[in-house]
Protein backbone atom coordinates (compact mmCIF):
# COMPACT_ATOMS: atom_id res chain seq x y z
CA UNK A 1 0.00 0.00 0.00
CA UNK A 2 1.66 3.22 -1.19
CA UNK A 3 1.16 6.28 0.94
CA UNK A 4 2.71 9.69 1.03
CA UNK A 5 2.93 11.12 4.49
CA UNK A 6 3.23 14.84 5.05
CA UNK A 7 4.92 16.25 8.08
CA UNK A 8 2.80 16.26 11.16
CA UNK A 9 2.15 19.33 13.26
CA UNK A 10 4.61 22.13 12.71
CA UNK A 11 3.63 25.43 14.17
CA UNK A 12 5.56 27.82 11.99
CA UNK A 13 6.63 26.02 8.86
CA UNK A 14 4.64 23.78 6.65
CA UNK A 15 5.82 21.50 3.92
CA UNK A 16 3.07 20.92 1.46
CA UNK A 17 3.08 18.20 -1.15
CA UNK A 18 5.53 19.31 -3.80
CA UNK A 19 7.85 20.84 -1.24
CA UNK A 20 6.24 24.27 -0.94
CA UNK A 21 6.91 25.98 2.37
CA UNK A 22 4.16 28.37 3.31
CA UNK A 23 4.95 29.20 6.94
CA UNK A 24 1.29 29.99 7.37
CA UNK A 25 -0.37 27.24 9.29
CA UNK A 26 -0.27 23.90 11.01
CA UNK A 27 -0.69 20.95 8.70
CA UNK A 28 -1.57 17.47 9.78
CA UNK A 29 -2.59 14.40 7.87
CA UNK A 30 -1.68 12.26 4.94
CA UNK A 31 -1.52 13.95 1.56
CA UNK A 32 -2.11 10.82 -0.44
CA UNK A 33 -3.12 7.25 0.08
CA UNK A 34 -2.82 4.72 -2.73
CA UNK A 35 -2.26 7.50 -5.24
CA UNK A 36 -5.53 9.22 -4.33
CA UNK A 37 -5.33 12.73 -2.90
CA UNK A 38 -6.77 13.03 0.60
CA UNK A 39 -9.32 15.84 0.89
CA UNK A 40 -7.74 18.98 2.26
CA UNK A 41 -9.68 21.04 4.76
CA UNK A 42 -8.69 24.55 5.81
CA UNK A 43 -9.71 25.32 9.40
CA UNK A 44 -9.75 28.96 10.49
CA UNK A 45 -10.06 30.00 14.12
CA UNK A 46 -8.30 32.61 16.24
CA UNK A 47 -8.60 30.34 19.29
CA UNK A 48 -5.69 27.89 19.63
CA UNK A 49 -7.94 25.53 21.60
CA UNK A 50 -10.63 25.47 18.94
CA UNK A 51 -8.07 25.10 16.14
CA UNK A 52 -6.68 22.04 17.92
CA UNK A 53 -10.17 20.67 18.42
CA UNK A 54 -11.37 21.04 14.84
CA UNK A 55 -8.04 19.72 13.54
CA UNK A 56 -8.42 16.72 15.85
CA UNK A 57 -11.93 16.03 14.61
CA UNK A 58 -10.91 16.28 10.95
CA UNK A 59 -7.75 14.26 11.43
CA UNK A 60 -9.75 11.46 13.03
CA UNK A 61 -11.57 11.21 9.70
CA UNK A 62 -8.17 11.00 7.95
CA UNK A 63 -8.51 14.34 6.20
CA UNK A 64 -5.53 16.58 5.60
CA UNK A 65 -5.99 19.69 7.70
CA UNK A 66 -4.34 23.08 7.62
CA UNK A 67 -5.24 25.26 10.57
CA UNK A 68 -4.68 29.03 10.53
CA UNK A 69 -5.56 31.71 13.04
CA UNK A 70 -7.08 34.41 10.86
CA UNK A 71 -9.12 35.10 7.75
CA UNK A 72 -6.18 37.03 6.33
CA UNK A 73 -3.88 33.98 6.63
CA UNK A 74 -6.61 31.79 5.16
CA UNK A 75 -6.75 33.99 2.05
CA UNK A 76 -2.96 34.03 1.78
CA UNK A 77 -2.90 30.26 1.93
CA UNK A 78 -5.71 29.93 -0.61
CA UNK A 79 -3.70 32.15 -2.92
CA UNK A 80 -0.67 29.86 -2.59
CA UNK A 81 -2.57 26.61 -2.63
CA UNK A 82 -6.01 26.71 -4.17
CA UNK A 83 -6.38 22.91 -3.80
CA UNK A 84 -8.41 23.23 -0.64
CA UNK A 85 -11.55 21.10 -0.72
CA UNK A 86 -13.40 22.71 2.16
CA UNK A 87 -13.12 25.64 4.57
CA UNK A 88 -14.40 25.51 8.13
CA UNK A 89 -14.16 28.88 9.81
CA UNK A 90 -15.07 30.47 13.09
CA UNK A 91 -17.50 33.36 12.76
CA UNK A 92 -16.20 35.67 15.47
CA UNK A 93 -12.60 36.64 14.75
CA UNK A 94 -10.83 39.99 15.04
CA UNK A 95 -10.16 42.07 11.90
CA UNK A 96 -11.83 39.65 9.48
CA UNK A 97 -14.83 37.69 10.65
CA UNK A 98 -15.76 34.30 9.26
CA UNK A 99 -18.58 36.02 7.41
CA UNK A 100 -16.10 38.42 5.76
CA UNK A 101 -13.95 35.45 4.77
CA UNK A 102 -16.99 33.65 3.37
CA UNK A 103 -17.86 36.69 1.26
CA UNK A 104 -14.31 36.98 -0.08
CA UNK A 105 -14.30 33.30 -1.03
CA UNK A 106 -17.66 33.52 -2.76
CA UNK A 107 -16.63 36.68 -4.62
CA UNK A 108 -13.57 34.94 -6.07
CA UNK A 109 -13.97 33.09 -9.35
CA UNK A 110 -11.17 30.73 -8.33
CA UNK A 111 -12.42 29.99 -4.84
CA UNK A 112 -16.21 30.27 -4.98
CA UNK A 113 -16.78 26.52 -5.51
CA UNK A 114 -15.06 25.65 -2.22
CA UNK A 115 -17.73 24.78 0.36
CA UNK A 116 -17.50 26.98 3.44
CA UNK A 117 -18.92 26.05 6.84
CA UNK A 118 -19.21 28.52 9.69
CA UNK A 119 -18.70 27.72 13.38
CA UNK A 120 -20.06 29.97 16.08
CA UNK A 121 -20.36 29.80 19.87
CA UNK A 122 -23.68 31.65 19.56
CA UNK A 123 -26.48 30.38 17.37
CA UNK A 124 -27.98 33.73 16.42
CA UNK A 125 -30.64 33.36 13.75
CA UNK A 126 -29.77 36.60 11.94
CA UNK A 127 -26.12 35.59 11.86
CA UNK A 128 -26.94 32.11 10.61
CA UNK A 129 -29.34 33.42 7.96
CA UNK A 130 -26.84 35.92 6.60
CA UNK A 131 -24.14 33.26 6.35
CA UNK A 132 -26.40 30.78 4.60
CA UNK A 133 -27.63 33.52 2.26
CA UNK A 134 -24.03 34.31 1.41
CA UNK A 135 -23.46 30.69 0.42
CA UNK A 136 -22.27 28.88 3.56
CA UNK A 137 -23.06 25.17 3.47
CA UNK A 138 -23.51 24.85 7.22
CA UNK A 139 -23.64 26.85 10.43
CA UNK A 140 -22.33 24.80 13.33
CA UNK A 141 -22.64 25.62 17.01
CA UNK A 142 -19.38 25.42 18.92
CA UNK A 143 -18.00 23.30 20.38
CA UNK A 144 -18.41 21.32 17.19
CA UNK A 145 -19.22 17.65 17.58
CA UNK A 146 -17.56 14.85 15.65
CA UNK A 147 -20.76 13.52 14.12
CA UNK A 148 -21.74 16.96 12.77
CA UNK A 149 -18.36 17.52 11.17
CA UNK A 150 -18.29 14.00 9.78
CA UNK A 151 -21.75 14.43 8.21
CA UNK A 152 -20.72 17.75 6.76
CA UNK A 153 -17.48 16.41 5.27
CA UNK A 154 -19.15 13.25 4.03
CA UNK A 155 -21.67 15.38 2.18
CA UNK A 156 -19.26 17.92 0.70
CA UNK A 157 -15.98 16.03 0.31
CA UNK A 158 -16.14 13.24 -2.23
Amino acid sequence: MATTTTTTTATTTTTMKGGKVTGLGEVTGVAEANGVATPHVLAVDDSSVDRALIAGVLRSSKYRVTAVDSGKKALELLDLEPNVNMIITDYCMPEMTGYDLLKKVKESSELREIPVAIMSSEKVKAREDSCMKEGAVAFLKKPVQRNEVWSLCHRWLR
Binding site: S47, S121, K142
Partner: protein, 153 residues
Protein backbone atom coordinates in the same frame (compact mmCIF):
# COMPACT_ATOMS: atom_id res chain seq x y z
CA UNK B 1 -3.66 -6.34 40.34
CA UNK B 2 -2.03 -2.93 40.10
CA UNK B 3 -3.51 -2.03 36.71
CA UNK B 4 -7.07 -2.80 37.84
CA UNK B 5 -6.58 -0.82 41.03
CA UNK B 6 -5.33 2.20 39.08
CA UNK B 7 -8.11 1.88 36.54
CA UNK B 8 -10.73 1.79 39.32
CA UNK B 9 -9.13 4.83 40.93
CA UNK B 10 -9.20 6.59 37.57
CA UNK B 11 -12.88 5.79 37.03
CA UNK B 12 -13.76 7.00 40.53
CA UNK B 13 -11.73 10.17 40.09
CA UNK B 14 -13.10 11.13 36.69
CA UNK B 15 -16.65 10.22 37.73
CA UNK B 16 -16.29 12.65 40.61
CA UNK B 17 -15.07 15.36 38.24
CA UNK B 18 -18.23 14.97 36.17
CA UNK B 19 -20.45 14.69 39.24
CA UNK B 20 -18.97 17.83 40.82
CA UNK B 21 -19.41 19.73 37.57
CA UNK B 22 -15.75 20.32 36.81
CA UNK B 23 -16.12 18.52 33.49
CA UNK B 24 -18.96 17.91 31.09
CA UNK B 25 -19.56 15.65 28.09
CA UNK B 26 -17.32 17.77 25.87
CA UNK B 27 -14.33 16.34 27.76
CA UNK B 28 -15.44 12.85 26.77
CA UNK B 29 -15.68 14.08 23.19
CA UNK B 30 -11.99 15.07 23.42
CA UNK B 31 -11.06 11.68 24.82
CA UNK B 32 -12.69 9.99 21.85
CA UNK B 33 -10.40 11.98 19.55
CA UNK B 34 -7.30 10.58 21.24
CA UNK B 35 -5.76 7.54 19.57
CA UNK B 36 -2.41 5.87 18.86
CA UNK B 37 -1.49 8.53 16.33
CA UNK B 38 -2.31 11.26 18.86
CA UNK B 39 -1.82 9.71 22.29
CA UNK B 40 -1.50 13.07 24.07
CA UNK B 41 -4.33 14.90 22.34
CA UNK B 42 -6.37 15.63 25.45
CA UNK B 43 -3.45 16.84 27.57
CA UNK B 44 -2.21 18.98 24.64
CA UNK B 45 -5.58 20.65 24.21
CA UNK B 46 -5.81 21.14 27.97
CA UNK B 47 -2.35 22.78 27.95
CA UNK B 48 -3.46 25.13 25.20
CA UNK B 49 -6.51 26.03 27.26
CA UNK B 50 -4.46 26.80 30.38
CA UNK B 51 -1.99 28.94 28.42
CA UNK B 52 -4.87 30.78 26.80
CA UNK B 53 -6.79 31.22 30.04
CA UNK B 54 -3.71 32.57 31.84
CA UNK B 55 -3.28 35.18 29.13
CA UNK B 56 -6.97 36.13 29.21
CA UNK B 57 -7.09 36.30 33.01
CA UNK B 58 -4.07 38.61 33.02
CA UNK B 59 -5.75 40.81 30.42
CA UNK B 60 -8.95 40.86 32.43
CA UNK B 61 -7.10 41.86 35.61
CA UNK B 62 -5.35 44.65 33.72
CA UNK B 63 -8.51 45.91 32.11
CA UNK B 64 -10.51 45.86 35.32
CA UNK B 65 -7.75 47.79 37.03
CA UNK B 66 -8.07 50.76 34.68
CA UNK B 67 -9.43 54.11 35.80
CA UNK B 68 -12.18 53.86 33.21
CA UNK B 69 -13.29 50.30 32.76
CA UNK B 70 -13.97 49.18 29.19
CA UNK B 71 -16.77 46.66 29.68
CA UNK B 72 -16.88 45.82 25.98
CA UNK B 73 -13.25 44.78 26.07
CA UNK B 74 -13.84 42.72 29.19
CA UNK B 75 -16.82 41.06 27.57
CA UNK B 76 -14.73 40.18 24.52
CA UNK B 77 -12.10 38.50 26.71
CA UNK B 78 -14.71 36.65 28.74
CA UNK B 79 -16.40 35.54 25.53
CA UNK B 80 -13.10 33.99 24.43
CA UNK B 81 -12.60 32.30 27.78
CA UNK B 82 -16.14 30.98 27.75
CA UNK B 83 -15.59 29.56 24.29
CA UNK B 84 -12.35 27.79 25.04
CA UNK B 85 -13.59 26.43 28.38
CA UNK B 86 -16.67 25.05 26.60
CA UNK B 87 -14.41 23.44 24.01
CA UNK B 88 -12.51 21.40 26.57
CA UNK B 89 -15.51 20.66 28.76
CA UNK B 90 -14.44 22.82 31.71
CA UNK B 91 -18.04 23.34 32.78
CA UNK B 92 -17.58 25.33 35.99
CA UNK B 93 -15.25 27.78 34.26
CA UNK B 94 -17.77 28.17 31.46
CA UNK B 95 -20.62 28.77 33.90
CA UNK B 96 -18.76 31.53 35.73
CA UNK B 97 -18.07 33.13 32.36
CA UNK B 98 -21.82 33.23 31.66
CA UNK B 99 -22.39 35.17 34.89
CA UNK B 100 -19.36 37.32 34.14
CA UNK B 101 -20.84 38.33 30.77
CA UNK B 102 -24.10 39.31 32.45
CA UNK B 103 -22.14 41.60 34.77
CA UNK B 104 -20.43 43.13 31.75
CA UNK B 105 -23.82 43.75 30.12
CA UNK B 106 -24.92 45.58 33.27
CA UNK B 107 -21.61 47.52 33.53
CA UNK B 108 -21.42 46.05 37.03
CA UNK B 109 -17.82 46.55 38.14
CA UNK B 110 -18.21 44.89 41.51
CA UNK B 111 -19.87 41.92 39.89
CA UNK B 112 -17.09 41.67 37.33
CA UNK B 113 -14.41 41.78 40.01
CA UNK B 114 -16.19 39.02 41.90
CA UNK B 115 -16.50 36.93 38.75
CA UNK B 116 -12.84 37.44 37.96
CA UNK B 117 -11.85 36.00 41.33
CA UNK B 118 -14.25 33.14 40.86
CA UNK B 119 -13.10 32.27 37.36
CA UNK B 120 -9.46 32.39 38.48
CA UNK B 121 -10.30 29.97 41.25
CA UNK B 122 -12.20 27.63 38.91
CA UNK B 123 -9.34 27.62 36.40
CA UNK B 124 -6.90 26.82 39.19
CA UNK B 125 -9.09 24.00 40.49
CA UNK B 126 -9.75 22.38 37.12
CA UNK B 127 -6.07 22.60 36.24
CA UNK B 128 -5.12 20.75 39.40
CA UNK B 129 -7.81 18.15 38.81
CA UNK B 130 -6.74 17.55 35.21
CA UNK B 131 -3.07 17.40 36.18
CA UNK B 132 -3.95 14.67 38.67
CA UNK B 133 -6.07 12.90 36.06
CA UNK B 134 -3.27 12.93 33.48
CA UNK B 135 -0.81 11.65 36.10
CA UNK B 136 -3.14 8.73 36.80
CA UNK B 137 -3.35 8.04 33.06
CA UNK B 138 0.43 7.91 32.83
CA UNK B 139 0.56 5.51 35.76
CA UNK B 140 -1.98 3.22 34.09
CA UNK B 141 -0.06 3.27 30.81
CA UNK B 142 3.25 2.66 32.62
CA UNK B 143 1.83 -0.52 34.13
CA UNK B 144 0.70 -1.71 30.70
CA UNK B 145 -2.96 -0.89 31.16
CA UNK B 146 -5.50 0.91 29.01
CA UNK B 147 -7.08 4.18 30.15
CA UNK B 148 -10.84 3.71 30.57
CA UNK B 149 -13.02 6.13 28.63
CA UNK B 150 -16.37 7.13 30.08
CA UNK B 151 -19.38 7.04 27.79
CA UNK B 152 -21.07 10.36 27.09
CA UNK B 153 -24.44 9.18 28.39
Amino acid sequence: MEVSRLQRRYIDFISALFHEGFLDSQFTELQHLQDESNPDFVSEVASLFFEDSERLLNELSRTLDQQTVDFKKIDAHVHQLKGSSASIGAQRVKNVCLTFRSCCDENNLEGCLGCLQQVKQECYLVKNKLDALFRLEQQILATGGVVPIMSKD
